[in-house]
Amino acid sequence: MSWILALPIAVPFATAVLAFLARHSAAGRWLSVAGNAALLVAAVLLMGTVWNEGVIAAQMGGWPAPFGITLVADLLSGVMVLITAITGLAVSVYALGDINERKEYLGYHALFNVLIAGVCGAFLTGDLFNLYVWFEVMLIASFGLLILGGKPEQIDGGIKYVTLNLVSTILFLSGIGLLYGMTGTLNMADLAQAVDGVENQGLLTVVAMTFMIAFGVKAAVFPLFFWLPAAYHTPAFSVSAVFAGLLTKVGVYALIRMFTLIFDHDTGFTHTILLWVAAFTMVTGVLGAAAQSDFRKILSFHIVSQIGYMILGLALYTPMALVGAVFYLVHHIVVKANLFLIAGVSQRITGGSDVYRIGGLYKSAPLLAVLFIIPAFSLAGFPPLSGFWAKYIIVKAALEAQGWLIAGIALAVGLMTIYSMTKIWAEAFWKAHPDGRQPRLTDMPQAHRRPMLLAIGGLATLTVIIGLVPEPFVQFAERAAAQLLDPAAYVAAVLGDPG
C-alpha cells in the first residue's frame, strides 16, 4: 500500500537524477520520456487502487499519524496525480522537439522532473507542513525552468514570479505556525477534527484567510494574479505548458482541500469571500485577455479567468458545484497545456508570437488549425467538447443555489472567452501572414515535428473523449465530490489505519 503512494513521487525524482547525469547525450531526453511513462503506470495503479478500495493512506518511515508524514490519496488526489502524469508524458514528448541541446545541458529535464515530483507530492501529502515543502520544491524547480536560457525578459518574469510566490510562502508558513499553535497538530486529517475543538472560532477564520491568500497567490486568483501573465509568456513553450496546466491548479487543489476538509466551520463567511473572488477572477481574467495580442499572454489571462470557474465551484459548496470544480480541474489541465504547446508550434513556423504579426496558418497548416480548434473551442465551452460539460455543471450548480447573478457572470465570461479565441483564430489562422510567409508544418525538421504533433494530438484526443463520453467522468467527479463533502473516510483512512 505504502509503495503505491510513494511511487508517483519517487519515480520523477529518480528520473530527474538519471536525466541530469545523462544530460550530455540524447539519452537524457529519452530517460525523461521513459520516466514520465513509468509515472503514468504508477498513477494508473494508484487510481485503480483508490477507485476499488476507497481512500488509502500510508505513513512514511513507519511513523504513525499524526506524528509522521502521511501520504493520502482520495479520488481527487488520485485523478490529479493521473492528470499530472498524462501532462508530464505529453510535455516530455513535446520537449524532444522543443528543447535545444543547450537547455538540456543546463539541466532542463532534471528540473522538469523535479517539478513533476513536487506537483505529485503536493497532491498526495496529508500533512500541512509537508505540503509547504512540496510547494518549495515546485517553486525552486519552476524558477530554474523559468530562467533557463537567461533572456532578460525571462529574468524579469522570474523575479516577479519568485517574489510574489515567496510572499505567499511566508503567509502559508505563518498560517501553519498559527494553526499549530491553536491545535497542536499539522496532520490534515487530525486537523479536520482538532479545529472543531478550538475555542476561539473567530481566530480560526482569521487563520483560514491567511491560507486563502497564500493559496490564492499560487492559484492566481483576483487580486493576486498579476505575477502569472508577467511570467508565463517568457520561458520555453514546454515549460509554460506545464506551468499553465499544472502549477496554478496545485493552488486550486490546496484551496479545495483546505476549505472542504479543515476550514468548513464558517462557510457563510469564507465561502462568500471565495464567491466574490471567483466572480472578479473570471471577469478580470477575460478582460485582461481581450487587451492582449501575444499568443501566450492571451492564454495566460485565460488561465486566470478559468481559475475563477473552479473557485466558483468550491465557493458554492454544494455537491453539484464540487462535481463541477473537479471536472473543470481535469478538463482545464489538458486543454490549457495543449494550447500552450500549439502556441509553440505556431511560433516555430510563423516566426512570431504576436497574433497581429503572424497569420496564414489555416491555409498552409490545416492540421495545426484542426488541432487548435479542439482545445480552443473546448476552453470557450462549445458542445460537445469537454469545456461545455465543465461550464454546464458549474452554471447549473449556480442556478440551483439561486445565484442568478454569478451564473450570469459565468455565462458572460464564457462569451468573452469565445471572443478571445476567435481573435487568435482570425488573426493567426485565417488572415494571410503580413510578411507573405506561408507557414508550413514541414518547415520544422521531421525529428522535431513528429513528437510535438504527437503530444498535441494526444491531448486533443483526450479532450474529445471527455467531451463525447462525459458520463463516466461525471460519475467519477460525483464520487470525488462526495468524498470531499464527507471527509469521514479520509480521516478514518489516515488515523484509523496504523499501517
Partner: protein
C-alpha cells in the same frame, strides 16, 4: 578587491569548515546538527574561497560541477528511502545495522550504521551543491 589577508586566511579556514561540516553531519543523530546544516557549513568554505580567490579557482578546487554534486546527493537520498523496500517496510523507514554489536549485552550497540545517515549524506550533498551553484552563478554575474 582581493585582500591578501582574506586569501591566506581562507586557505586555513576552508579545511576547518569542511571538517566541521562533517562533524555536524555525523553529530546530527544525537544532538543538534545533520545533513542540512552540515551542507551549509561545508558550502561556506568554498564560498569563502570564491570570495577570496575568485570563482574560477574555487571551481577548479571543487573539481566537479556543483550541480552534479546536488543531483548525486538527491539520488543518494532517494536510494536511502528505497532501501526500506528491500526489507518490506514503508518508504523511508530507517534500516539499521549494528556493526560488531555484542548480542548478549544490550548496552553494547557496536557501530550503528543506518539508511538515515545515508539520507543525511544525500541531503548534505544536495545543500552543498545547490548553495554553491547559486553563489558561483551570482559571483560570476557580478
Amino acid at each position: 578587491m582581493r585582500s591578501v589577508i582574506l586569501r591566506v586566511g581562507t586557505r586555513y579556514l576552508v579545511g576547518l569548515l569542511l571538517l566541521f561540516s562533517v562533524y555536524m553531519l555525523l553529530r546530527g543523530h544525537n544532538q543538534p546538527g545533520g545533513g542540512f546544516i552540515g551542507g551549509l557549513i561545508g558550502s561556506t568554505g568554498f564560498v569563502l574561497y570564491a570570495i577570496g580567490c575568485g570563482t574560477a579557482e574555487a571551481r577548479a578546487a571543487l573539481r566537479v560541477m556543483p550541480q552534479s554534486i546536488a543531483m548525486v546527493g538527491l539520488g543518494i537520498a532517494l536510494v536511502a528511502g528505497l532501501i526500506a523496500g528491500l526489507f518490506g517496510d514503508a518508504f523511508f523507514t530507517g534500516q539499521w545495522l549494528f556493526l560488531g554489536a555484542d548480542k548478549s549485552d544490550p548496552s553494547d550497540k557496536g557501530l550503528p550504521l543506518s539508511t538515515v545517515l545515508v539520507f543525511d549524506i544525500g541531503v548534505y550533498l544536495v545543500v552543498f551543491g545547490a548553495i554553491l551553484t547559486l553563489v558561483f552563478a551570482m559571483e560570476e554575474e557580478i
